[in-house]
Structure formats: C-alpha cells, structure tokens
Symmetry: C3
C-alpha cells in the first residue's frame, strides 16, 4: 500500500481487503467500553477542511482520537485560503509540525494530490471537489461486505447525480475492484461522458432496476435542484426517487448521507431493514481508523512508500 490515500485507483483488491480486515478488528475495539488503542500515541493528525462537514470531519476526528493521536483541526470556509498558492503555504506551515497524516477536504478536484507533493506526511483525501472520496467508498464496501459476505458478482446500481458526485466516482472504482457489476443511472444531463471507462454500465431510466442487488442512491445537492440540470425537483423525484414501490424486498439500499427525504429517497425506505444507511455511518469511524493504521503503522507502510519527484522531501 502506498504512503497516501488519494484515490481508490491507488488500491489493489488486496489493499482493500487488508483495510477491511483491519476495520473489522477496530469494530471489536469500538464495541468495548474503552474504545481506544494506543497505536498512534504522541503522533499528530491534522484535519484540514476547506468545506463544511460534520460527518466526515467528526468521523476522522474520532478515528484519530481512538488511536490516541493528537488531532489538530484547521477549518476554513474557503473564502480566502482555498487558492492553490495559499493551500501550498498552509500545507508547508502545517508540515513543519511533522504530522503523521494530513486529512484534506477541498472543493477542488486534485487538491489532495497537490498536498501530497508538498508534505512528508501521509495524505488522506477526504473529498476533493467532484473527483474522489475514497474513504467513503471503503466504508461502503465494508458495510456491504459485513451484511452480505463476498461482493463478487453483486449487481450495484448507483442512482442520481453521478456528474457532481465524488462518492459515485470512488464507489464505481471500489465496487468494481471487489468484483461487483456496477451500473450508474440518472438523467442524461447528470451522467458524465465517458464514465463507462471507469468500469460501469450507464442507464438513464430505472426500468432495469429490479436486477440490482444493491441500490446506492446519491445525495441530490441543493444547488443542483434549481432547474439548471433537472427540469424540476418533482420531475426528478417522479423518475428517479427510490421509494417503496421501486425498491424490491430482496434489494439492499445505501446512501452516503445526509439524505434529502422526499427527494432521492422516500421516507418509507429510509428506515426499512433493507437500508444500510446507519451502518454506513457507523462504519465510518472504524474504516478511517483502519486507513490511518495502514498508512501510519501498518507493516506495508515503510516498503510501500510512494515514489516522489527527486526535488521533494522524502520521508525519514
């Protein structure tokens, strides 16, 4: 495994399975009253968030703390500091503290890869624009595997605004790497051209949805609901909302949260036993603990150091 987690594409199937196994062992820790191990004691993890995020940032924060790391949280509403130049300066400043890891969330695709070029710390992409959100995909795979066992041959439909979704992009890569057959489905205006090259089929109606084993609904972003991409919200829901009529009893339902109730999902399916939505959140902490562990303390870490351009600092 490499030194950073920037994209699901960096991970082999073996890498993913090692992370899942590690997460499983941390799930055992999280079930104890003392949910803490000393693994990263005295090491520093920096949360650098240029977008508001309760879910992902608190999940990484808890993961770091349950590994006994010291966490420093740097948040920005992005007004003045999210430009390339400033990001570099911020990262170089924070790197001077010799952190073990920097967890970066940015509105700009590619930001995490840039950060990785500027620091000796391990960099974890916690979402970079519309590009990727690899820990989300890992926790999705973990959650699903916990429910069904092997993922090989499972048919996964990812439904909604695929165009703007880093969750979709990382999900396609992760599910297909684990042997699933992935289909993306949404209005033609919200399916990016060439998405098939990631290893998925494209559908623009839910007609074939009954074939799916897993329905993964994407969050509709509020700023996309105003008619520039979909004729109307009502129209969108009429054609693509997953409701009790469309979701078959043998299908599982996933969603990255937070859910827009009544938009991409109808209320009746959210709380149904088929929904894995709460389990996905629960998985967040243990999978992020596993990622931190594998990058910072795992056996593969020293030998799997990612090649760096010669002009840049090398890990000690």
């Amino acid at each position: 495994m490499r030194r950073h987690l920037l994209s699901i594409d960096d991970l082999s199937r073996d890498d993913i399975e090692r992370i899942l196994g590690r997460a499983e062992s941390f799930a055992e820790v999280s079930g104890r009253e003392i949910k803490k191990v000393p693994t990263l004691r005295g090491r520093t993890v920096i949360n650098l968030f240029y977008e508001a995020s309760t879910r992902t940032s608190s999940s990484f924060e808890l993961a770091a703390k349950r590994l006994s790391a010291d966490l420093v949280s740097v948040k920005s509403s992005g007004s003045s500091v999210d430009k390339g130049e400033s990001l570099k300066d911020t990262v170089q400043t924070l790197s001077a503290y010799d952190p073990a890891a920097i967890v970066i969330r940015s509105p700009h695709a590619g930001a995490a890869a840039l950060v990785a070029r500027w620091t000796r710390a391990s960099v974890i992409n916690a979402g970079d624009g519309k590009h990727e959100h690899p820990t989300q995909a890992l926790l999705d795979v973990y959650t699903l595997a916990r429910r069904v066992g092997s993922l090989a041959g499972l048919r996964v439909w990812i439904v909604g605004d695929v165009m703007h979704s880093r969750v979709a992009r990382s999900g396609i890569l992760a599910f297909s790497r684990m042997g699933c057959e992935v289909t993306v489905c949404g209005p033609p205006t919200l399916i990016p051209r060439g998405i098939e090259s990631l290893g998925c089929r494209v559908r623009t109606t839910l007609d074939e949805l009954p074939e799916a084993d897993v329905v993964y609904a994407l969050r509709m972003q509020h700023e996309r609901m105003d008619g520039s991409f979909v004729p109307s919200l009502r129209e969108y829901a009429a054609q693509y909302q997953i409701d009790g009529r469309r979701l078959r009893p043998n299908q599982l339902l996933m969603h990255p949260g937070p859910v827009n109730r009544g938009v991409e999902l109808a209320a009746e399916v959210i709380d149904s036993p088929q929904a894995l939505i709460v389990e996905q959140v629960e998985s967040g902490v243990v999978v992020r603990m596993a990622v931190l562990y594998e990058l910072l303390a795992g056996h593969g870490a020293p030998s799997g150091v990612r090649a760096q351009p010669a002009t840049e600092p090398q890990p000690a």
Copy 2:
C-alpha cells in the same frame, strides 16, 4: 437517577444530593495540580451546540476532558441545521459513533427531549430555548449549599426577565426541591402566567425583597431591551436593578452570567463579598463532571434507565 438529564423535574432530592456530593469530590480533584481522573477514558462525549456559548460549552468540554473522555465538538450557528428534521439526522449520525453522552444546546424548547428519543446515548440538556437549563440550576444549588450548608427554609428571590429564562425555570424547580421558598419578581410583562404552579410566589415589585436570604438576578437579554417588554432600560433598572442600596448586608447575590453591568446589577454589588458569581462559574466544571459521572459511571445508572417507547433503541 434516569439515563438522561433533561429537566430538574426528573431529579428527586436524593438525586440532587448525590450529584452535589459527587461534585464535592471532584472539587477536591480540581484543587490538585493534576486535575484529571481516568473515569471515562476511551468513552466519547459529544458537545452539540446550536447556539453560541463560551461558558457552558467550555465548561462541559473541560468536565469531559478532566474525566479523560474523548470530546467531539459540533457547533452550528443554527442557520441551516436547527430544524427538526435536520436535528434528527444529525443526532442519528452522531449516535452511530456510539457516544456515551450527547450534550445538547438548542434555541428550541424540547430539543433535548427529542434528541433523547433518537439516541442510545445519555442526553444532557445544556439549555433548550426558554424551557430549562438543569446543569445551571444544579451548579447554583451546589454553590449556595457550599456557602450556607443546608438550603431548607431559605428564601430565594429570582429577579428579572422570568418569562424568557430557562435559568429561572430550572432554578425554581431545583431550589424548591431542596426546601427553599422561591419568589419570582419582575415586571408583569416578564412574568409568565401560571408560573406559580412550579412552586413559587410572584411579586412585581422589590418592596418585600428585604425578606430574601438570596437574591438571584437574571440576565436581561439584549434583544429584550428594546422596549417591547420593558418601557425602557433606564426604567427597568430604576425599578428592578439590584444595587448597593437594595441588597442588604446579610443577603447573598447570585447571577448566571454574563452580567450586564449597570442593567440588572449595579457595579458595586458585582464584586462584593456577598456575590457568589465567580463561585458559580467555578462550580460549573465540577457539577458537570458529577452529572457526567452519575449518568455514565454512577452505581444508579443501570437500574435507573429511563423508560423508552418500545420502537426506539435500548441501551446495551
């Protein structure tokens, strides 16, 4: 004692006295150089604050840290996330981290009780709209008892904007449960109808104030000072301000802070030896340590579990 602390009404006099005794033992810890005990090591406490608060949130934060818990702080200015639906989603997300306790501050009366229905964690009401602020009342009782010993028969006057004060509401309940005779006093427009049913007398002038053993002045909220509830601030101060002339030498003075100097209190009484205001703040940390202890680690915790509707999750 129940699983949550939502209202003083949930507490028997025995419950309150057990909390005070526990706070006393934590006061001994807080006097040490190492102000820390390992009681809640590896357990998670979430501060969920939908209103700005330096005092209460930092007090709970320190209480949790001095019990060695891991604290996660989620703050919101309330613009987008304080609606019922979103609160539920947020609480369900945070609950997936399996926190031992959620401390909730909300501008909406009843918010803490809602949170308690959505989580397996112990919920502590850190102020819900105009409803209650039970840990404030507990620290008030603790502070007073430390100074005078038994509270039985003490005459407590709560003076000011009773209408909008969660502090008044929790205070009336707590002081009367401890055997005090409580009087509320303020302009008729700022006394809610039927307040007597909580177990207090009502006065609209300070004429009988000399009978009080304790004068508890409430903070005048800035947004209420503009004339819709009181004719003018000068007029209010003329009739209800506690100053050196009105406060007798044998009376004690309390205030929840922060004080509006020159409004509800005159400068000369704030720093007098009769004032317990600084002691109230000091008590905040140890009383909140005691509440966390009783809910999460106390002997009464398992047996006193609050009954939950059958459809909701039960504590393990």
Copy 3:
C-alpha cells in the same frame, strides 16, 4: 523569569537563553515518533484568540498537547466580544476553571497585560495589536542561533512595514538583547518615530543592505497595500522587495509568514537554502513548549512571580 510572557522586555538575556536551551531539548522530543512528554498532564491551557490565526493558534495547540495539557480553544471573530469590558468578563469566567495558562491573541495593543491583571493563570501574549508578539521573536532567535551559533555582533536588518508590525517590535528587542546590531528599514511612512529608542538604527533605503548578515523581511499586510501608506504595491516592491539580486549569497533570510510572494519577497529567494522560513515554523512548536514549560513547570517559576496590585488575586 516572571509569571507571564507579555513582552520581550520582561526577559533578561539569561531568560532567553534558558528558553532556547529548553526548546533544544524539546526539539529532541519532537524528533521522536512519540512526540509527547507528560509534563503538564491534567493541567489546562486556554487559547483565547480574538483574531483569526492558523499558524500561531495551531502551534500553541500542539505545544500544549505535546506537553500532555488539556487544551480549550475559545475563538472569536471579534465582532461583539473584543471590547475591554467583555474581555474582562470572558477572562474572569475562563479563570474560574483554574487554567495553568491563558494564551491571548488580540487586535488591541496592551490586551495581554490587561488579561494578566484579571487572572491567576500565567498569561502568554500571542500578539496584541501592533504592540508585541514575543513568542515569534523567541522562535526567530532560536532558529537563527541553531543555524549560526552565537548571535553576538550579527547585523540584522528588519525590512518592511515596521510601523504596523508587532513582529518587528518584539524582534528588535530580542535580537538586540542577544547582542545583534539591529537596523530597521522601510518607507519613511512605515517607520514609527522614535523607534531608535528600542535599540536599532533606521534606514529608508536598501543601499547599505549588503552589510547585513541576516535580512528579516516583514509581511506586508493586505490592508496596507491600497495606497494609503505606500504609493503602489509595484513601487513598494521596486524599492524594498528582497529578491535574488539584493540578497547576497552569504546572507540569511527570515520572514514570519505567511509570505506574500512577489511583494516583500521574490519567489527565487523564498525557497533558497539561505531562507530559514520553514525552520522558523518548525521552531514554533518547540519554542512554545519551552515557554509553557518555563512559566508553568520551570524551577524559576515560583520565585519569579510577577508583582500584582494588592487588590488583585494572588497565585496560590
């Protein structure tokens, strides 16, 4: 050494050298995988920041955590709470938690000294308006001493907006106390009258810059770039920017960060081996650990207690 660190003027050369020695020992700790010592376990450090600051606040946060203190961070954008009266109330509230130290950053000169009058905690000035920023000067001295050994007789030029710079003021004091010959240089409109009394020479052109051993460039504040103090940014850069032509190979370059690339520094000098800018940031954590150590745990702490007016609380 006194109980507070408010100004470099409070420190003797011996004090500074003791801090540098202590920082050196913490640099050894920071080089370990477990970057943590138990020195301040169970003690509380409060970061009270009335100005936005990533660099200084995260540096103090890490310093406190690596000493095992509990850190509470109180931040304010300054809109409502930076007036004298409110600052006093805030400090008295926070002091009730019996913190070992309060680290204060304020836009108002003299704020740290006021805080020191209101609390029994040790107060560390993390920047008060245009007045001082003593930990910056200490880390500058530390960084330079690490590179060159003794500072005696070194010629240090501080270049730029001296008028508005607390870094310049603390730097002049610290470098001259260590035996340097300090020159300040900038446009006449940005040199305060009487600055020589701090122990420096004044120049308004870079003509004699070649004599300098160290060039310390100040950050040009964006709000000063609009023409009220300098005719134009281009004009400023033409006359005062440190670039590859002006910086001689035997000169060292320092800057407090963050750098305005292309304004006070040209890109080619920022990343040159002569620049100590990254080392300055690195030094921040260990020097702040050393300051916390000396004030809170050093042998000199009890005897060197700063005299307080008789009406104010005394340390236990």
